[in-house]
Amino acid sequence: MPSVMKVAVIQFPGSNCDTDCQAALASFDGVKAEIVWHKETSLAGYDAIVLPGGFSYGDYLRCGSIARFSPIMGAVRAAADAGVLVIGICNGFQILCEAGLLPGTLMRNKGLLFRCENLHLRVENNDSPFTSAMTNGQVLEIPIAHGEGSFVADEETLNQLNANNQILVRYCDANGNVSPEANPNGSLENIAGICSHGRNVFGLMPHPERVCDHLLGGTDGRGIFQSMIEAVQKTKAK
């Protein structure tokens, strides 16, 4: 099988979903996922970049606040500017926000406690390299595992996110209703994941890499990675 996509999974000190992301990606034909240590400074040759979950630098000061200064982040920013796909999952989302690659920030959960459980997400917009393999309104069952996942942004930012269709997934119930009861952490407008204005940077709190295998509770996470693969293939075909 020829390589269709080469992915860098960034390993920060304290990352702990790095090998999970690597394994999930490796379950797709032709995808090569490599762990890249945060002290590296180049990401040349990678088609996509994953900032995995975990507790980078212990998340002690603020989640993602120290990792954004890691040497590798210069290369991540350059790649993002050049249109390379960048996905930040959980702690990766927090790092992208701290680094200013995505707007807004993630605050402590409304209920104050860490929450790990399977939840439902509604695909809000499939016009992105991360959601194109799914349909608008599709309901996914994907787990969360975070203590600080409450998405917060000022009104203007929120208006822009809505206006530009940057909100890609929202927390919902099993039937796809976006309701306060389905909001696990107090996120504004049940926001679970957003993309950048250029649509090539995506951050989400839920963990799609955990639901890529029937034996591990489902395959609803595969659509996100499948979308990325298709987007990269399309770019390469051009």
């Binding site: 000190p13 304290g14 090998t19 999970d20 975990g54 212990g58 998340d59 790990c116 509770g217």
Partner: protein
């Protein structure tokens, strides 16, 4: 700074008896230095030396064809799981530190057990916890304290496990007055490794450099090991500044760095600095290696200024390891620990004189024969009180409660109720191997790198153990094995955590001895070795000793993914069978405890031969693909089991337990052992009956799964029906409403 003179008061303050001090004098041939007194004190504490329990622990079966590292040899036992892969696992208590500071006490307990596992060269893959607290119900000050302890312990476990990235996949939590003021926090970790990766904690090779790696030493948990071996008193609250703070981020780095280092050829020996820190790790590695170790305190990375040699030696700072490096390979350590931004220092060498020698620059402050410290500690044969078996329960004294009201009440009893509030705070899915979520009989975890499916369960019904420790311990082993069987697994090995009161009291010592004997019988019956564990004595509060709690954790293997079985009913129309007898034993039951407020009677009998036959029969039909769900009967009896199987998929059950003149409360809530409720497709009933008939185990069809979400049970002339939704509300709502109000 000058050291205090060695006075009888100082010796007593170090927890050494006059006889023990005489032994110190004869080993040294002179008066010990202040530092040496501290070293003897921690090394000869119960926590490090097992001086009160060792003669009992020798009764455990510890060998077997699959045992690669035996109990007691190293930090954790190692068991072969085939294809060149092995597992290292162990459970350890952090009870006293958690009583003083629940969050940090529990967090550092998790950190300590994880270090025990990666010290063996294994990559940790999952965690479990066994927790006990006093009652959390009501408005009393005691209940408020217990709620604070419970919340703090759970948050501490979550903090450490989530941050380091290990899933907490199973566990147990019980609430009982006997744990008021003395909670139990037993943490379990399992790791995976190749046979050739097993690392040893021995100081091999005279002349090899000794490295200190990991976090700097501060004045943390000074003399914590000695502290853990004393009763909790009002005074020990003054010990508070002794609490150590865990840093899971540092431990994550230490874990990765150590595994990277162990994958090279540079390491001759490795040992974590657990209780008694630098002291214990130096003398244990020297003792195991048959060598000596000499270190210089001044070379140890230190966090605080002006620490005395005594403080550095006895500090319990977390996230540190001692590594014996092969001479000439020092640069490998340097490269790896600089990569991970962790402190490291060469602090000494392996010597050939068998001494643990500690220098403070030029001055020698400790010089003790390492072997005598680690191996020649005091050993006590304590007196066990004669045992009076509990009087069998006189049923005529138990008023018949209405089962309609009893079932929801039992389901909302905190010990039986859903622990979702607990495990939702733990990341139980990281490492993407969790095939069965917490809340089932056993955790099932797929170890990706080894392509193996493991199952694990942890159990102990301390009410049984209080009333008859031998029977209670037997049941703890059997229930673990039964939980594994329900998930489709065969047992591989056991680790135990013996939590008891002060062993100087003969009634407590009897409990310890009886429990060890019960566990040994159980392990022999199931043909599984005890691979190690932990003893925690002196679990007493001003109100008295805890109920004896010999926690059993059992690890098993599932051969094929298709054999993974869960407890929830799957589809309407499936037929429900009970394997085992209907039962009648109400003594020591949770019905008696929760509904009638009585902790009495004889615990249910346990027949290992019957039990084994039932597990084998169940596994046989699981492997034939006939079983859609399996769930064993434990606290709360058959009715609770049936209700729990209805939860999860929004189904109900229609049950007929047949004619009979037994009291309905006895039929529904007795805790007779060796019972499993399974469901099968209607089309498979004939095959199932045929298969089970051959095994000779008792079984019968008791009903079917219904689309209507009601649990309806008929027994004799009585019929009961509950809405599954409302039962589920009792079950799920109990702990959140107590904790969040």
């Amino acid at each position: 700074m000058s050291n205090p003179a060695i006075t009888p008061e100082l010796i007593a303050k170090h927890g050494l008896s006059p006889d023990e001090y005489e032994k110190v004098l004869s080993i040294l041939g002179r008066e010990p230095s202040f530092e040496e007194l501290g070293v003897f004190s921690v090394m000869w504490s119960e926590h490090c030396s097992y001086k009160n329990s060792r003669p009992e622990l020798r009764k455990f079966p510890t060998t077997g064809p699959s045992v690669l590292v035996k109990a007691g040899e190293e930090n954790a036992g190692v068991i072969d799981i085939g294809d060149g892969w092995a597992v290292a696992f162990k459970i350890e208590s952090h009870n006293h530190p958690s009583a003083v500071e629940p969050f940090q006490g529990a967090a550092t307990g998790v950190g300590g057990i994880i270090r025990d596992i990666f010290t063996m060269g294994a990559r940790p893959v999952f965690l479990m916890d066994s927790l006990r607290f006093g009652s959390i119900e009501g408005d009393s000050e005691q209940a408020k304290t217990n709620r604070r302890l419970f919340a703090g312990v759970v948050a501490g476990i979550a903090h450490y496990g989530n941050c380091i990235g290990l899933p907490t996949v199973a566990g147990e939590v019980y609430f009982d007055e006997s744990y008021s003021g003395n909670p139990l926090v037993n943490a379990f970790c399992l790791g995976i490794l190749r046979h050739e990766q097993i690392a040893r904690g021995a100081a091999e090779g005279v002349g090899n450099p000794v490295f200190y790696v990991g976090a700097e030493t501060g004045r943390d948990g000074l003399a914590g090991a000695a502290f853990a071996s004393r009763e909790l008193t009002e005074e020990s609250k003054a010990d508070r500044p002794a609490v150590q703070v865990g840093d899971p981020f540092r431990e994550k780095l230490l874990l990765e760095a150590c595994l990277e280092l162990l994958a090279t050829d540079a390491v001759a020996g490795i040992q974590d600095m657990g209780a008694a820190g630098l002291t214990c790790s130096t003398c244990e590695t020297a003792s195991r290696g048959g060598t000596g170790v000499e270190i210089d305190i001044q070379l140890v990375p230190q966090r605080a200024k002006g620490q005395t040699p005594y403080e550095v030696l006895l500090s319990e700072s977390q996230e540190r390891m001692l590594v014996i490096v092969k001479k000439g390979q020092e640069d490998v350590v340097k490269r790896i620990f600089e990569k991970w931004d962790l402190p490291y220092a060469e602090i000494g060498t392996v010597t050939d004189d068998g001494m643990m020698r500690v220098r403070n620059g030029k001055d020698v402050v400790v010089e003790i024969p390492a072997r005598s410290l680690a191996d020649d500690g005091p050993l006590y044969f304590r007196e066990a009180a004669p045992f009076t078996p509990p009087a069998p329960l006189d049923l005529s004294t138990v008023p018949q409660a209405d089962p309609s009201a009893v079932l929801p009440k039992l389901l909302s009893h905190p010990s039986i109720a859903s622990k979702r509030w607990v495990w939702r705070q733990y990341d139980h899915m990281v490492r993407t191997g969790t095939a069965v979520l917490p809340g089932s009989d056993a955790a099932v975890f797929i170890v990706r790198e080894a392509n193996k499916i493991l199952a694990a369960a942890t159990d102990c019904n301390a009410v049984y153990c209080r009333l008859d420790p031998t029977v209670g311990a037997r049941i703890a082993v059997a229930e673990c094995a039964r939980n594994l069987a329900c998930s489709g697994a065969v047992p591989l090995g056991v680790t135990d955590n013996l939590n008891f009161g002060n062993p100087h009291k003969p009634e407590n010592f009897y409990q310890l001895r009886a429990a060890v004997e019960g566990i040994s019988e159980g392990c022999r019956a199931f043909n599984v070795p005890v691979t190690g564990g932990n003893v925690s004595l002196y679990n007493e509060s001003p109100a008295g000793a805890i109920d004896p709690t010999p926690t059993i954790s059992m690890v098993g293997r599932i051969d094929e993914a298709a054999h993974i079985t869960t407890q929830s009913f799957k589809e309407a129309g499936d037929q429900i069978f009970l394997i085992g007898e209907t039962g009648s034993e109400l003594g020591a039951s949770h019905y008696l405890l929760a509904i009638h407020g009585r902790k009495e009677g004889a615990p249910p009998a346990l027949d290992f031969e019957k039990e084994k036959a039932i597990h084998a029969a169940l596994l046989g039909v699981i492997r034939k693909g006939l079983v859609r769900s399996a769930h064993d009967c434990s606290e709360g009896g058959l009715a609770v089991t049936l209700a729990e199987s209805c939860f999860g998929n929004g189904l109900g059950a229609s049950i007929d337990l047949g004619a009979g003149d037994q009291r309905p409360d006895v039929v529904l809530f007795n805790e007779t052992q060796g019972r499993i409720v399974i469901s099968v497709k209607a089309a498979d009933v004939t095959s199932l009956e045929k298969e089970l008939a051959v095994t000779g185990v008792p079984f019968r069809k008791i009903g079917e799964v219904t689309a209507k979400a009601d649990l309806a049970i008929k027994t004799g002339a009585n019929s009961y029906s509950w809405s599954v939704d409302s039962l589920n509300e009792s079950f799920e709502g109990a702990i959140p409403s107590l904790m969040e109000g």
